[in-house]
């Protein structure tokens, strides 16, 4: 095995949480609001189903092929050539996904704070930091996640508590006025994010307590779901019908905080925490990408390819994305479908093939 480090199932759950929330919280609620209107808080419920399914698939596959990542058992299941092709699809997808995620983050940072900084600077600095973390291995990434996770959650609790005087709970009514359909449509984009939970299949082989992997994976999905529900409710209570008009609703809400005329303009604090959260997200995805690439190429050490892949990631976040509008179009229209296809349908296919192979070993 090229990774010597070991993490616990709990650490895995902490690592996966920012993978979804890190970029998801920045602008996904606004997209949910566009379709679900004031039912946007129900959307994470539907979206989380995809997350639960992803963890389930990953765990079952890992049970069939213990100690292997998705890259390795894909080859076992599909055969060498087809496995390599599928593997390549995964690699391209994860580079693209990470590139897209980094672009969301960078657009956010340059859009609201560093308006005159070239976006390439914002992108390359975060990729560089992530690359250092990834070179440290899975244990380093896990500990970084463990360090930032409490602060990250705390920052959200602070927003929620400080916004209390400005909440209008009546905005929630009428609940389900147009039936369930709008809230389901609002779940499509967050669903694309929840599908990223399939990444646990890269982390399972390094768990010290694999048997708890599914439980902690589910806990992670559940806490992400709760986070989205609470934040969606929060912005609904603050903005009502205007929620979808804001590009970064939760951030704008945090700017709205004003307690006793002096506790205000907290957005830089919030932003700092979101940078930390995004950093964990990109590190985890980046790490998965590096491990998968190393296994795809049958390398004995993954460290030499960290920086080259980081460079590729930078390219993918810049290529063909001239503006925030194009980035949104990609991330909110193309990505959810793409993500569902690669991260749910293909693993599901793998699982069913693996299942039948197990059932009828005599045929082989």
């Amino acid at each position: 095995m090229i990774e010597k480090g070991k993490i616990s199932a709990q650490q895995m759950a902490i690592m996966m949480y920012p993978v979804i929330v890190g970029t998801g919280i920045i602008s996904v609620p606004a997209v949910s609001a566009e379709y679900a209107k004031n039912d946007l808080w129900i959307s994470p419920l539907w979206a989380a189903l995809i997350g639960f399914v992803a963890v389930y698939i990953a765990f079952q596959l890992h049970k069939f092929y213990p100690g292997q990542t998705i890259m390795q058992y894909t080859e076992h299941i599909m055969g060498r050539t087809l496995g390599k092709i599928l593997g390549f699809l995964y690699l391209v997808f994860y580079i693209q996904m990470n590139g897209g995620g980094i672009r969301i983050y960078a657009e956010f940072v340059t859009g609201v704070l560093l308006t005159k900084t070239p976006i390439i600077v914002v992108i390359s600095t975060i990729v560089l930091v992530c690359a250092f973390a990834v070179r440290g291995g899975v244990e380093v990434v896990a500990r970084v996640a463990q360090f930032f996770f409490p602060l990250y959650v705390l920052s959200m609790v602070v927003i929620i508590v400080l916004l209390f005087p400005d909440l209008n709970y009546k905005n929630i009514f009428p609940i389900l006025a147009d039936g369930l359909i709008p809230s389901m449509r609002g779940a499509i984009v967050p669903g694309g994010w929840f599908a990223e939970f399939i990444l646990v299949s890269v982390l399972f082989p390094y768990l010290t307590n694999v048997e708890k992997g599914r439980k902690w994976g589910m806990i992670s999905v559940f806490s992400v779901m709760m986070t989205f529900m609470v934040t969606n409710l929060l912005i609904l209570f603050v903005f009502g019908e205007t929620t979808s008009r804001y590009l970064y609703p939760l951030f704008t809400a945090s700017r709205y905080i004003s307690i006793a005329d002096f506790l205000q303009k907290l957005d830089p604090v919030i932003m700092a925490m979101w940078v930390a959260g995004s950093f964990i997200k990109f590190s985890v995805v980046f790490y998965a990408l590096v491990i998968c690439t190393a296994q795809w190429l049958n390398l004995s050490n993954y460290r030499p390819i960290v920086f080259p892949l980081g460079f590729l990631t930078i390219l993918f976040s810049i290529w063909g994305v001239p503006s925030k509008m194009v980035e949104s179009e990609y991330n909110f229209i193309v990505f959810p479908v793409y993500s569902f296809f690669v991260q749910i349908l293909i693993p599901l296919l793998l699982l069913s093939i693996a299942f039948f192979r197990r059932r009828r070993p005599a045929l082989r």
């Binding site: 900084t117 009546k170 009514f173 009428p174 006025a177 603050v238 009502g240 019908e241 008009r245 709205y256």
Partner: protein
Amino acid sequence: MNTISLKRAVNLMLTFSICLLTLFLTGCWDRVEINDLALVMATGLDKANDNNIELSVQLAIPKAMGGGQGMVGGHGGDKPTIVEKATGKTIFEAMSRLQEKVSRRIFWGHNEVIIIGEKLAREGIQRHIDFFTRHPSPRERSFVFVAKGKAIDTLKVIPDLERSSAEITRELANFKIGMSVTLKELVQMLIGNTRAAALPWIEVEREPENKMGLRVNGTAVFKKDKMVGRINDKVTRGVLWLRNEIKLSAVTFEPKGAEGQISFNLLRSHTELIPKIENGKWKITAKVVTEDDVVENETKLNLMNPKIVKEIEKQLEQEIDDRILMTVKLVQEEMEADIFGFADAFYRHYPDQWSKVKDQWDEKFPEVEVDIKSNAYIRRPGMSTSPQGIPENEVKGK
């Protein structure tokens, strides 16, 4: 010996260059020092010729702002703020014109108040609001006002009590003595079901002479985004009551069969709008629960007597009902603009029926029947028992 010193030299060089590298970490290549910024405290928007907009900004002068002590004596003529104006097709264009004559970079991050001139308000405000939510610097927390006459005149006011007129307006908004609407809330009103908006109306006070101040005196009523009229102070209180925004209120009335007035100070109040559609009749019941303290008693009534207080509570309820109903009548008949939020109440309870009248709400709103059910509780008599300065035998209800 030689090799060691070479190694040391290399180490030193390395350390030095690493230290140099940290210079890049500060990220201040496009830094703007605070003394290069012109902080906008308040913004005024007025109509100019040819569809242009006149932007006026109140800029803080840090020299005069800081240190309350320095203000007295010494440099007498120091004004804490200055007002600059420029015109342009849009706010941002006007701002860039403004920048031509302001030596520091105009910074919106501290803008607390947006004041819209009456003329512009009557033409429609939606177009001009976009800038404040789109540009990254202005805050959604800014309070929005409509000024009598030109907005720039309110900005020019140099108050006695506060440092700037921006501060007065903000504090007045915080009191919630009249309407208090932030930019975020205004956007919600404009987009909302009611198709109406209400903004506090601000006037320059020139009484007594040679003093200047600002006063929130009523509410500007908007239909869609165009101002259609103004309601006075008293009517505004009714609006606040219905919108569940009342925070400060003094109710004074003469109890039946008594001479003199009693004043009550509002402690807290809660209003709930309960919509009902029956046989095609749209009806709103407003449930008002208020708690008051007696603060002034001119009558001879002994307010320690629970029976008398009960009687007065009833009259207080009647008084509140009348006040609110007067407002409702005026707004329904004269303004025909739903600034109470009835539309939201109906939408939330009857989404289906609502969607049918959605487009004709302007015609439907005046027909909505309004019923006020208030419950007033007088909690405490203040610090006195029976009326002060009255001989014992003249006190009623002892």
